[in-house]
């Protein structure tokens, strides 16, 4: 039995299409009922969960493989294999700030002149902290769980680190991208022990998932 962690939201549909092309089709549409485990024939099943939880489920072996954005793979720092870049779910993890702010004008060049730590809001505290540590810019990080743009507009933070897809949400709220931290796409993640112990099942599946 192969257990697959499937993310709810924007990655679900393209992920299911790739699994269908590889011959794994859920018995019912995930999300059509309240079922959290959806069988796919006799040899596989899908766990339906938030994409941020996918790395943990796979790292700890509750699922053998899973689909999630590179943002979640990196933020979780989970100890996983990530053999396939699906190419869909393309976006960027970016630093964004109000259009007329000092950060937007001079990037981080004179962050020192603020006279205090830069206040940054993000759903990605680990990746944000890494980025500013590399730049040598002291920051005061605020971890939020949604509507991160609001933090920069309302004065909670000087700037935000968040996913940018089309850039429309930023634009409508008067924010612009200052710098990109990472290019993001959806990845297949695999548990380290499952990869070895279920290799004969997994290898043909990985080949099919890779070639759409």
């Amino acid at each position: 039995m192969l257990t697959i962690a499937l993310p709810k939201g924007r990655l679900q549909k393209p992920a299911l299409e790739r699994f269908a092309a590889a011959g794994i089709v859920p018995d019912e549409e995930p999300g059509s009922s309240r079922k959290l485990i959806v069988p796919a024939g006799v040899s596989a099943r899908f766990l339906v969960l938030k994409d941020g939880d996918v790395p943990l489920y796979v790292e700890r072996g509750a699922a053998d493989i899973g689909v999630c954005g590179l943002d979640q793979v990196l933020e979780s720092a989970a100890d996983l294999l990530s053999p396939i870049d699906f190419g869909f779910g393309r976006c960027r993890l970016s630093l964004a700030a109000p259009r007329d702010s000092r950060i937007a004008r001079d990037a981080l060049a004179d962050a020192g002149e603020l006279g205090r730590s830069l206040r940054i809001a993000s759903k990605y505290p680990r990746l944000a902290a890494q980025f500013f540590a590399r730049k040598g810019v002291p920051v005061d990080l605020v971890k939020l769980s949604g509507s991160v743009e609001l933090a920069a507009v309302s004065g909670l933070a000087d700037a935000i680190v968040d996913l940018v897809e089309s850039g429309r949400t930023l634009e409508e709220n008067g924010l612009i991208v200052v710098e990109d931290l990472h290019q993001i796409t959806a990845r297949l993640v695999v548990n380290r022990a499952s990869y070895r112990l279920k290799l004969t099942t997994l290898l043909p599946l990985l080949d099919k998932l890779e070639a759409p």
Partner: protein
């Protein structure tokens, strides 16, 4: 006396009571019996050491005279110290140990701070037959505990090290390449190679390292390819050594897999490196490798090879205990 601020043991540690304690002791006894029968003798190093014996992962404290001490973070370094000092010059040495190690790790990843281990070290033996002896003993320990569905994933850090030195990769690039290989992340590895590694044999060989593991029979073609792409004598030697070890370890059969992407491990490995997997455990249940330079740090440069088992993961899976 002050009231304790918490009623639980420190995060990442546990109390073992009654049946759990009995199971652990039975597993330890089974392993000790196997190790003794294989000619290994037990050593019990102290639970604190001078901090410089271990890496930065050790839990440290100053004693009253200002010496920086560390809780045992790794048995192998301690056994190397013993072998290089009190047992200097006695070769070969077959030593085993059991007990706990304490490491400050990422707590949220669920790896406990204090881990129970047992393991063996073979000191003063440099040949492929020594590598095979350790591989075989590690595999037999899993069988002795009654585990049926297991894998031994075998590679060499020598080949990767030779490719890095041939491609003149700096520290940052080396870390990025090693991370991509360790994650079997071929797309990222390909991107790094195309952008930052000069075209040539070393680059093609690096791309070989993210390939899936091969069974022992299928490994021949992979090793031949790796030998053809070897950019230096060191690289070729690493592949030939791995092939010789595999030939010696033939009796291990289907459980053994060759994975040239086994590049991770404690910093001191110099050749053979392997990980043990068992159905029911989400992480490796043990691992080991060759560390030919570690004893030199204590003034007695001798080759050595060994392995350790993660008893916290193995005891719940063990059938005999």
């Amino acid at each position: 006396m002050l009231l304790p601020s918490t009623k639980a043991p420190p995060q990442g540690t546990q109390d073992l009571l009654f049946e759990a304690a009995r199971r652990l002791r039975r597993c330890e006894a089974t392993l000790a019996q196997l190790f003794e029968a294989a000619g290994f003798g037990e050593v019990i190093p102290p639970s604190i050491e001078s901090a410089d014996v271990f890496g930065p992962e050790a839990f440290r404290a100053l004693d009253r005279s200002g010496h920086l001490l560390a809780l045992r973070a790794d048995f192998t370094a301690q056994v190397a110290r013993i072998a290089a000092t009190r047992l200097a010059g006695v070769s070969p040495l077959r030593l085993y140990y059991r007990g706990s190690v304490v490491r400050e790790g990422a707590a949220e990843s669920g790896i406990p701070r204090e881990r129970l281990q047992a393991g063996c070290e073979l000191v003063g033996a440099a040949g492929p037959e020594a590598d095979a002896e350790i591989l075989s003993l590690a595999t037999r320990s899993l069988h002795a505990l009654g585990l049926a569905d297991t894998r031994v994933s075998v590679g060499t850090v020598g080949y990767f090290a030779a490719l890095i030195s041939a491609s003149k990769a700096g520290e940052r690039l080396t870390r990025a390449l090693s991370d991509a290989i360790d994650r079997k992340d071929l797309p990222t590895l390909r991107g790094l190679c195309e952008k930052e590694v000069a075209p040539g044999k070393a680059r093609d060989a690096l791309l070989l390292l993210a390939r899936p593991p091969r069974s022992q029979e299928d490994a021949q073609s992979l090793l031949q390819k790796a030998a053809q792409l070897a950019p230096s004598a060191d690289a070729l030697q690493a592949v030939e050594r791995l092939a010789a070890t595999l030939a010696q370890a033939k009796s291990l059969g289907a459980e053994l897999e060759v994975d040239l992407g086994e590049v991770r491990g404690l910093g001191y490995y110099t050749g053979l490196v392997f990980n043990l997997y068992a159905a029911g455990a989400p992480r490796p249940v043990g691992g080991g490798g060759r560390y030919d330079t570690l004893l030199g740090r204590f003034g007695d440069p001798r080759p050595a090879v060994g392995f350790s088992l993660e008893l916290d993961a193995l005891v719940p899976l063990a059938a005999v205990c």
